[in-house]
Symmetry: C2
Subunit: 187 residues, 2 copies
C-alpha cells in the first residue's frame, strides 16, 4: 500500500550498527522528534519479512505445529511460520515452502490474509499471514537440523479451546486466528 509522506516522521541524527549477524541486526540511532526532543539511544531491530500460515485440510482440520520457544521458555501450539529467504520470489512462495518443509502439507487455495508486525516500534519487518484451505499431505517433512517440532491436526473445537484458554501466545498467530473466528462467525 502506498502511503503519503509522514508528517510525524522522526529525523535520524546519528545511526550505527551495534551488531550485524544473520539472526540479530541492531542499529543504535539518535533521533529527533517533531517536537524537537531527542532520543539519544533508540534501537532498531532489522529482520527480513516473516510469514505464517493458517492452514486447513479438506476435512476442516487446522494444521498446527508444536515447538519449544527458547526466549519465552515454553513449548506451545503454533501456526507454521518462517522467514522469507532471498531465494523466495514472494512472501507467498516463502509461506508455501515453509508449510511444505515443516509440515509436509501443500496444494490447496491460498490467499494473503493480513500483514502485521511483531512490534512496529522496534522491528523493521512485517509478517505476511496466509490463509490456505484444502491443503493435503504432499511430501515428507524436511526439517533443518535446528528445527525440532511436531505436527498436529486440530478440529475447530480443539482450536477454539486453545484460544479460550489463552494458550496461543504468539501475537503474530493469535491475530490471524481471531480474525478467522470473527470473519467466519465461529465464536
Amino acid at each position: 500500500m502506498e502511503r503519503p509522506k509522514d508528517e510525524r516522521r522522526w529525523k535520524v541524527i546519528r545511526s550505527e550498527y551495534l551488531h550485524r549477524k544473520p539472526w540479530l541486526t541492531v542499529r543504535q540511532e539518535c533521533v529527533e522528534l517533531p517536537n524537537g526532543n531527542r532520543i539519544p539511544e533508540y534501537y532498531v531491530l532489522e529482520y527480513p519479512d516473516w510469514v505464517n500460515i493458517l492452514a486447513l485440510t479438506r476435512d476442516k482440520q487446522f494444521v498446527l505445529v508444536r515447538q519449544y520457544r527458547h526466549a519465552y521458555g515454553h513449548t506451545d501450539y503454533e501456526l507454521c511460520a518462517g522467514v522469507c529467504d532471498p531465494e523466495d520470489s514472494s512472501p507467498l512462495e516463502a509461506a508455501q515452502r515453509e508449510l511444505r518443509e515443516e509440515t509436509g502439507y501443500g496444494n490447496g487455495v491460498w490467499q494473503e490474509f493480513m500483514t502485521i508486525s511483531a512490534n512496529t516500534s522496534t522491528h523493521t519487518n512485517l509478517t505476511h499471514c496466509f490463509l490456505a484451505t484444502d491443503v493435503e499431505p504432499v511430501v515428507a517433512r524436511h526439517l533443518e537440523a535446528t528445527e525440532d517440532l511436531s505436527v498436529h491436526l486440530f478440529s475447530l473445537e480443539q482450536l477454539k479451546d486453545l484460544l479460550k484458554q489463552d494458550l496461543i501466545k504468539q501475537s503474530l498467530m493469535a491475530a490471524p486466528l481471531w480474525k478467522y473466528m470473527a470473519e467466519n462467525h465461529l465464536f
Copy 2:
C-alpha cells in the same frame, strides 16, 4: 498459569550479555536441542512485561492513539500501550496508569483480556492486554518528553474499517481487537 516441566526445553551451554541498556538487553547463547544439535549463536531479547488497553467509553467509542513508529517508519492508529514500571504493583496498575497518562481516560470496568508475546522465540516478556469499558476523561494527559501521540475516539464502524483495511499493524493490538470482534459477534 503453572506449567509442567518442559521435555523439549533446550540446554543452555553458554550465555553472555551482548548489550545491557534500559531499552535493549540482549543475551547471546549457545544452546543444545533435545536432538543433540547445537545453535551456537541464539539471541534472547530481555524486556519487562508490556501492557495495552482496549478502552471503550460509556457511549461505546474506542479510545485510540495515533503515533509514529520509528523502526517500521509509519504513523498508525493503535491501542494505548506501555511498559510495566518497577513502581507498578501489577500489570493492571501499569495499564491504568498508561491509559491515564497517554489519553487522560480512567475509571471504568477493567478485565485482563489476553496475554500474548511479540515473539516467543526472541522475547522473554509477555504483553497483558486489558479490556476497559465505561472509561471517561479524568485528568489532563501527561506525556513524557519522548512521547508524541494524539488521542482519537473511533466508533465501532470506524474501527472495523481500520481492521478491514489491514491498518492495525501491531500484532499485539490486532489480536485483542479481533478477539473482541469475534467474541461479541461484531463482524
